[in-house]
């Protein structure tokens, strides 16, 4: 019998029986281990000392799609582990990786449609016992193949993923109309790596998937580089009109496209050009009077944009927010190359599997702190400033109904003094004051004599104020939650958060993302969150901070009086 000895204590991994893997950052082998582990495990959190990864069927299928074998994955775990990995984990890794690709979706040249094929006829017998899948399959062409309608390509993939048998989609793509395009800037190395991982040399195995990068890491440039790589008509779907216009501005700035090549498809304009930037809102706009359960295109007429033009590429910005109707429409257009961009794959609706099967596997992931260390995002100092509510407000707060307590605490008047003190600290900086409640924001804006941008502000005024801020004509801007996503204000280096959306972890990260774009002077970013002590505001603040602390950021907690 072989000796069961303790593995190298300098190894950085601890493989857990619940399929999580702990990575000790202080280990000299941590960098190698991270690189190898990232291929088949999801980074769950990356606090300052020990990072946590989770091995899931999805992450293993992602790895298999990228060509990793089960043996390579288990070798990594075994070689890098500080203690012998649990055998069940190794067995599970081998099993799940071996599942990917045992079923393949291919072109069937006899029928002109698609076929689901495998080398193992018994596997076909096994999976076709599922009624959900059986209803999507056509005739059995021979012992190894079932016919699949072209329109059911996405639905079949989604069903197979749900059954635990992810197919390799080798049916290829439609090329779309050609669009000669080139970048006028040089992408950063990690941006180039990300696009290369997605493109996979133009093979049928690539051309779809999701790239995960921190806020401020230049996801728009990555999208543009993907467009250059594909060289075809492209539809970009963004979260808002503001974000859409920023995409257009960036495309004009960083590619050789002319304004005639780029169109906006939103509530304001309905331009369809070789590169069209649409919003989720317009695509999911619902025709009034249409009954529930009606045909998707009848209910959401603008979804026809997805297959109205000969697109060769569709880019989904902030893919973690992709709404359900767009998912359903995406299931039908699997022959078009797809790229998802996001800072986090965590979806509040737990539809990560749909992202995997319909948009594609995760192709690239870069930790925040890693990019910060390389200087691609600005280092940030996070500070929680505690204020007292005052006796009167405390009394009112204690007696208030539960549902109104957060608002009372979040809008505590004492926060105004804290804002003043922070502003005193950062007289020469570019400050964003962000909040949830409009009354509070109006007061702050009036108090600081700074312009306010909210959802009620017209699009023209919004853009004008953002532009003034970019040009340096404004030092302070008070913004509501509309600034959570995709607002590019690279010179902002201080954010003051007054209130948030009930402890949403993503929101805090997105808000930090507004200020960590690298600064021209290489300076630091400062993120302040002002919370009312001993209230639900403080409790929510802990929840909000969790995502960032898990990404390696630490918070200084100080009293407003010490500012």
């Amino acid at each position: 019998m072989t000796d069961i000895g303790r593995d190298d204590p300098n190894n950085p991994l601890i493989v857990q029986s619940d399929m999580t893997v702990l990575l000790e950052i202080a280990s000299p082998k941590a960098s190698d281990a991270r690189e190898a582990l990232a291929m088949f495990a999801e980074l769950l959190k990356a606090p300052e000392h020990i990072h946590t990864y989770r091995i899931t069927p999805l992450s293993l299928w992602n790895a298999a799609a990228a060509g990793l074998s089960g043996q390579e994955a288990t070798d990594t775990l075994t070689a890098m582990a500080k203690f012998p990995p649990p055998p069940a984990v190794l067995a599970q890794v081998r099993e799940q990786i071996s599942r990917y690709g045992r079923l393949r979706l291919v072109r069937d040249f006899d029928s002109g449609g698609l076929a689901l094929t495998t080398d193992q006829p018994t596997l076909l017998d096994q999976i076709t016992g599922d009624p959900g899948l059986a209803s999507l399959l056509g005739d059995r062409l021979d012992g190894n193949r079932y016919a699949v309608r072209i329109g059911d390509r996405g639905a079949v993939k989604r069903q197979l993923v749900a059954m635990g048998w992810p197919p390799a989609d080798e049916a290829g793509y439609e090329q779309g109309a050609d669009l000669p395009i080139d970048l006028t800037c040089t992408p950063r190395p990690y941006q180039g790596d990300a696009v290369a991982a997605w493109w996979a040399d133009g093979s049928a195995a690539g051309g779809n998937g999701v790239l995960v990068l921190p806020c401020g890491a230049g996801k728009t440039v990555i999208g543009l580089a993907a467009m250059v790589q594909a060289g075809t008509r492209t539809l970009v779907i963004a979260t808002s009109v503001m974000a859409a216009r920023q995409w257009i501005a960036e495309a004009l700035d960083k590619t050789d496209l002319s304004p005639q090549d780029i169109g906006e498809y939103s509530g304001y304009h309905k331009d369809t050009r070789p590169v069209t930037v649409a919003t989720y809102q317009i695509l999911t706009w619902k025709q009034p009077g249409v009954a529930e359960g009606a045909d998707l295109e009848l209910a959401h007429p603008h979804l026809s944009l997805l297959d109205r033009e000969p697109w060769g590429l569709i880019i989904y910005d902030e893919v973690h927010l992709l709404p359900a109707p767009v998912f359903r429409a995406t299931a039908r257009i699997q022959s078009i190359r797809r790229l998802g961009l996001t800072a986090t794959l965590v979806r509040e609706d737990n539809r990560e599997e749909d992202v995997f099967s319909l948009i594609g596997p995760k192709r690239y992931d870069a930790p925040w702190k890693e990019l910060e260390a390389q200087g691609w995002i600005a280092p940030a100092i996070c500070t929680e400033v505690r204020v007292d509510m005052g006796d009167d407000l405390r009394l009112a707060y204690a007696a208030a109904p539960r549902q109104s307590r957060y608002r009372m605490a979040a809008t505590a008047p004492a926060k105004m003094k804290a804002v003043d003190r922070i502003m005193d600290r950062h007289r020469d900086d570019r400050v964003l004051v962000i909040g949830q409640y409009l009354d509070q924001l109006r007061q702050v804006a009036a108090h600081l004599d700074a312009p306010l941008v909210t959802g009620q502000t017209s699009q023209t005024v919004r853009e004008e104020r953002f532009e003034q801020f970019r040009r340096g004509e404004l030092d302070v801007l008070v913004v509501s939650k509309i600034a959570n996503f995709s607002i590019d204000l690279p010179e902002a280096n201080v954010a003051i958060q007054l209130s948030g959306a009930f402890g949403s972890r993503q929101e805090e990260a997105q808000r930090l993302g507004r200020i960590i774009r690298p600064k021209s002077d290489g300076g630091q970013a400062h993120f302040y969150t002002i919370v009312a002590r001993e209230s639900i505001d403080a409790t929510f603040a802990v929840n909000r901070q969790r995502f960032l602390t898990e990404q390696g950021y630490s918070y200084d907690i100080i009293d407003a009086a010490r500012l």
Binding site: M1, I4, G5, R6, P9, I14, V15, Q16, S17, D18, T20, L22, K45, P47, E48, H49, I50, T52, K82, F83, P84, P85, P86, P87, A88, A91, Q92, E384, R533, E534, A538, V542, Q545, R546, T549, E550, Y553, S554, Y555, D556, I557
Partner: protein, 656 residues
Amino acid sequence: MDLAALLSRVPTLADALDGDQRTLTHLGIVLASPRGITSVIHSLNLLERQLLTMAAMYDGAVERTTVAAEAGDARELDQAVSALAMLTLAYPAHTEGAWLVLRPGVLRHVPLPGIRIYGALANLSGADLDMLLQRLGASDIPYRHEDRRRLVGTLLRRPEVATELYRNLEPEPARILDVLIDHGVQRVADLGVKPFDRWERHGGPLHTLVQMGLAGVDLRTQEVFSWLDLRIGLRGRLFSDWSVQPPAVTVRPLNDPGPGTPRVVRRMHMLLDHFSTNPLPALAAGGIGVRPVRAAAKGFGMADGDVGLLIHLAISLGLVGPTEDDLWAPTPAVTQFMGLSPVAQWAAIIAAWRTAATVDETSGLPNRWSGEMVWPPQSGHRTAVVDVLTSLEPATGVDEQTLTRLCAWHHPDALGAAGADSIVQVLRLLDLVPADGAVGLTTMARALLEGGVKRSEKIVGPGVEQVVIQADHSVIAPPGLTPRVATELAAVAELQSDAGAQIWRITPQKIGHAMAEGWTRDQLIALLKQVSSVAVPPNVLVTVDDVAARHGRLRAGTVGSYLRCDDPVDLSAAAAVSAAKLRVLSPTVAVSPLARHKLIATLRSKGLMAIAEDAEGTAIPIRRVVGAPLPETGIPMIDDQGPTDPLTLAQDLLSS
């Protein structure tokens, strides 16, 4: 004789030879003793047990053709016979004429699946035995009583004799005989006949069977039985099923948590810690009752049986014992126990379980302790189950049904179907198998059982006393965290994952709970700084400060009554009445330990006209609360002296 093989098959034999008794002579004595023979029989697998039974049924010697007629012609039969010879239960093949011949003294210890007529006829008179033999068609009747009894069995096992007897039966006795042959012992009532009375004049189907020597009745329990010999004669076989090979096993991957300090050690520490502050009250009979066990189980979120078993093991290890105050509490042995490495502590707990004489898993896990020994002892059964698990491939396991089937084949006595759930629960509790999923030995358990404490310690490494505390309030403890640190950490953090390394999270709730249990802010911070191998993140310290700042600001207490008054002056006057024992909480509210009516009476006696109010503040009429005696009615009062002693009453009556 392959002595090593013999002792490895029957480890209890080795245990029976200690010190200077380790000689062949002594082994021979042990092997020839009833205890030795029983031990060896308990080590047999199902096939060997069936062969032994067949040989016993055929008076100690059976031919291969007889067995093969039932079991089929399998090579495994010869191997099993060789094993029986090696185990000294039978003679080596062909040395005594027949294929399988039992050694002297063995036959009487063979457990049979029913009743052999040889034994049932022991008290039958010679004349009655002759009559029975003549009825069975015997012509040459032997002289000795036991030979005649053997002959009865031999005749009943012959198909032509048994069938002829059966054919002569009326339908009802035949029906009853079929049931007895196929299903064994039955209660008379279940057979649909009247209770059996041997003096019943009119008789009945049971009388017919008994008179013909085809069945017997236990008059006390009113149970009817037939003979195994007759089953062979009528059915042509003793066993309905022969398993010449172990059952096929489909192994499953194991949820092995990997190296780490077994949770049971921490649980034992928690229990000991709990019992040191909350000793268990002793029952009048001296044991430990259900209530404190349930209370502890509820407190720790464990099953009653789990806590009960740990208490039994703690008592076995001498860690918990009775005090002079009729309590059960940790003993000084705890200090020595805590001084052991975590793996050594685990090994001690496992050893205590394997030899535990007060635990019977076949009837569920204990939820009390009475000190009564279980008979027969379960240690052999536990060893058998562990042996079956050890025989599985490393890193694999089986489901509970398969474990039951494997045990039924390898050690038929070890694990009844009823005991499977309990024994698996114990194995999981003791971390010998993973907490969920397939049942198989964990890496740590296999190392411990095969290589002892040192080998287990080698896997898990030295005990870890330092953890990593991070800004997201997580605490990462590498495998091998000592139970002492784990127990301390449990005061301030919730265990979120125990899948090898432990992941804890420091929460305000746990900190608040720790403070409620008496920890101070400084102690908590000192603890965090002491156990953390890195600087404790400032925000974690702030969390402790936050909770400490709020802790104890709201205070609750028990009072007998309160006194309120809108005028502080009046309240001050009331507070000045010392007999009212009032404590002023605010200018308009005071509390007293006195009951409401006593407080009011006291105040009114001093001229302060207090009244009572209900929960809504409505005044209650004074007579209902002050409890003033009713006015005299003139009715003579009965002098109630309580119950009268009958003897005293009788004496009083006599004297009157």
